[in-house]
Amino acid sequence: MTGADAGVLLRADKVRKYFPVPGGLLHGRAVHVRAVDDVSLDVRVGETLGLVGESGCGKSTLGRCLLRLHELTSGTVTFAGQDISGFTRRAMRPLRREMQMVFQDPYASLNPRKRVGNIIAEPLRIHRQGDRTAVRRRVGELMDLVGLSPEHANRYPHEFSGGQRQRVGVARALALHPRLIIADEPVSALDVSIRAQVINLLDDLQDTLGLTYIFIAHDLGVVRHVSDRIAVMYLGKIVELSPAEELYERPVHPYTEALLSAVPVPDPDAAATRKHIVLEGDVPSPVAPPPGCRFAPRCRYATDVCRTEEPPLVQHGGPAHLAACHHPLNVG
């Protein structure tokens, strides 16, 4: 790790990921979905970076690009000072140990025919971490760590509840002592009371194991609770990147403002008095995003400049607070 990068575990620089649309030709050119379009960010050691946005904003694709589960269209990803964007599958393999993923659907991400003990042991076997006894011992440790009783290692996923399955997913991700975990909507499929259990578990694990998280979610309450910094995405771009509390107290981008105001608050009196910004229309297609600022067609502050010139992601408000907007809110 070089001096300038001290403390940065993962860096994305101008990352783009375009998916070709099958059979799509527009004016004779191939058509692409611009899922991630020119995204740069740093993830520091030990922090939790939240990635929020609505469906189709590119947050999951970005997460997968950072893990190199997708080939990048352009840009670079640096992990622990090493540019991994050009790495082959084989070259990536030792790095896979250090970066793991926890998925949204605990029903789909666990093989129903395997016992959970084997599911958790699988990464250990693939990376040849010790003999049978060592693996069995480690599986017991891991189950204990995530709050499952090790005696249940012989059960199948369907014998567990949703929350317990998500714990299995977390145990599997932790098996190889990773440094970075990308959790993609890890609690969205869970009931409220179970959701809190899993969030607290992830919190505790971060403290005890010194993990770095990228936490992808659409639930702004959950993201605020877990994150140190938050990046808000809209149509493939980061529109705002800020320390967590600052984002909620002083949102700079009108999209963030609208997103926050749309979250229903569990307080009937506040609900009656709160001002709601109801955004008109739907998110435009990422195949042909609007020119200028991508949020302009739905933005109530938009002027001519917004429709022609794309605003850069620059500092507004606090020193670590970035936003891409021609008419920033809550500044000065």
Binding site: G163, A196, I199, H218, A262, V263, P264, P266, A271
Partner: protein, 357 residues
């Protein structure tokens, strides 16, 4: 909002001691276990609970939409003096759609993928009322406009898959409204939608409530959505209503430890961030092996000997706010203030202010 306790005169729908069981290989599933509530004219009742709490099965049973030879029903459902449980299929069909309509989380459960949406709405209008085709089509376009679909004349000729998720939800609402129902039952209408689209749909349901004067039963797991929409709230757990009161009572003076747990589990945006969320330990009990006593007791931090018997849903506060917990009102107030103060970091003055109001 004062007519919340039993016996309000303007009640449209009265459900009394509804029980729904399913025979399965693993035994009898008691999905709904003695649920009673009523719905007043123009009122919005929120039913909250987690998956498997019986909230959807309750309302599906009210609508007589559960067609399963293994399902058994008991109790009474009276809609404007008419016992829905006693109606035959044909009579029930007349109630459904024109009197009580239901919308679901997934619009494709209500929309037919192979017909144009305008046609589907017109068809429904003609099934319930004697109008010409042209008139039904005109009304269909009007409804699409009323639910905020741009270019309704043109969009009426589109198929369901041409619409985005939020727009499809609007089409389903238009379909549900086509015969001016007095009661709209909405089962997780916004759960699959993004927050900004959810805000649009909730605003739409609110507007329809004022414009058409319909009563709404809103089934959801989202405490925020309930707080925003409901006049009264029923909290369900393991097939039973465990707490029932006005929305302000439920959110400001919750009586049941399960409700405290639900409120403590949410990472909320309107409060300072707590160190930890107040998760409820454990998981809900299996509906085939419900405990003999309070179904929540196993996960409850305040359980005592008496919890071995089922607590009745009863007004323990003395203001029409019902709860099913053996603790006394004083004990509850004590536990609650400690818990909410601790979890949400609420200033003392706020709590005091609430209790004074």
């Amino acid at each position: 909002m004062t007519a919340t306790s039993a016996g309000s005169a303007a009640s449209l729908l009265e459900v009394t001691d509804l029980r729904v069981t399913f025979d399965t290989e693993d035994g009898v599933v008691r999905a709904v276990d003695g649920v009673s509530f009523e719905l007043g004219e123009g009122e919005t009742l929120g039913i909250v609970g987690e998956s498997g709490s019986g909230k959807s099965v309750t309302m599906m049973s009210v609508m007589r939409l559960i067609i399963d030879p293994n399902a058994h029903f008991a109790g009474s459902v009276v809609y404007r003096g008419q016992d829905l449980m006693a109606l035959d299929k044909k009579e029930m069909r007349a109630v459904r759609g024109s009197e009580v309509a239901m919308i679901f989380q997934d619009p494709m459960t209500s929309l037919n993928p192979v017909y144009k949406v305008g046609w589907q709405i017109a068809e429904q209008i003609r099934a319930h009322r004697k109008v010409s085709k042209a008139e039904a089509n005109r009304q269909a376009v009007e409804l699409l406009a009323a639910v905020g679909i741009p270019n309704p004349e043109r969009r009426a000729d589109d198929y369901p898959h041409h619409f985005s998720g939020g727009m499809r939800q609007r089409v389903m609402i238009a379909l549900a409204l086509s015969c001016d129902p007095r009661v709209l039952i909405a089962d997780e209408p916004t759960t699959a939608l993004d927050v900004t689209i959810q805000a649009q749909i909730l605003a739409l349901i609110k507007k329809l409530r004022t414009d058409f004067g319909s009563s709404v039963v809103l089934i959801t797991h989202d405490m925020g959505v309930v707080a925003e929409m409901a006049d009264r709230v029923a909290v369900m757990y393991a097939g039973r209503i465990v707490e029932h009161g006005t929305v302000r009572e439920i959110f400001h003076r919750p009586q049941h430890p399960y409700t405290w747990g639900l409120l403590g589990s949410i990472a909320r945006l309107d409060r300072p961030k707590p160190e930890r969320l107040n998760a409820i330990p454990g998981a809900p009990p299996s509906l085939t092996r419900l405990p003999t006593g309070c179904a929540f007791a196993e996960r409850c931090a305040y359980r005592f000997d008496k919890c071995a018997e089922v607590p009745p849903l009863h007004d323990r506060v003395g203001n029409g706010h019902l709860d099913a917990c053996h603790l006394s009102a004083e004990e509850k107030q004590q536990h609650r203030s400690q818990l909410l103060l601790f979890s949400a970091g609420l200033p003392e003055t706020l709590i005091a202010g609430e209790d004074a109001s």
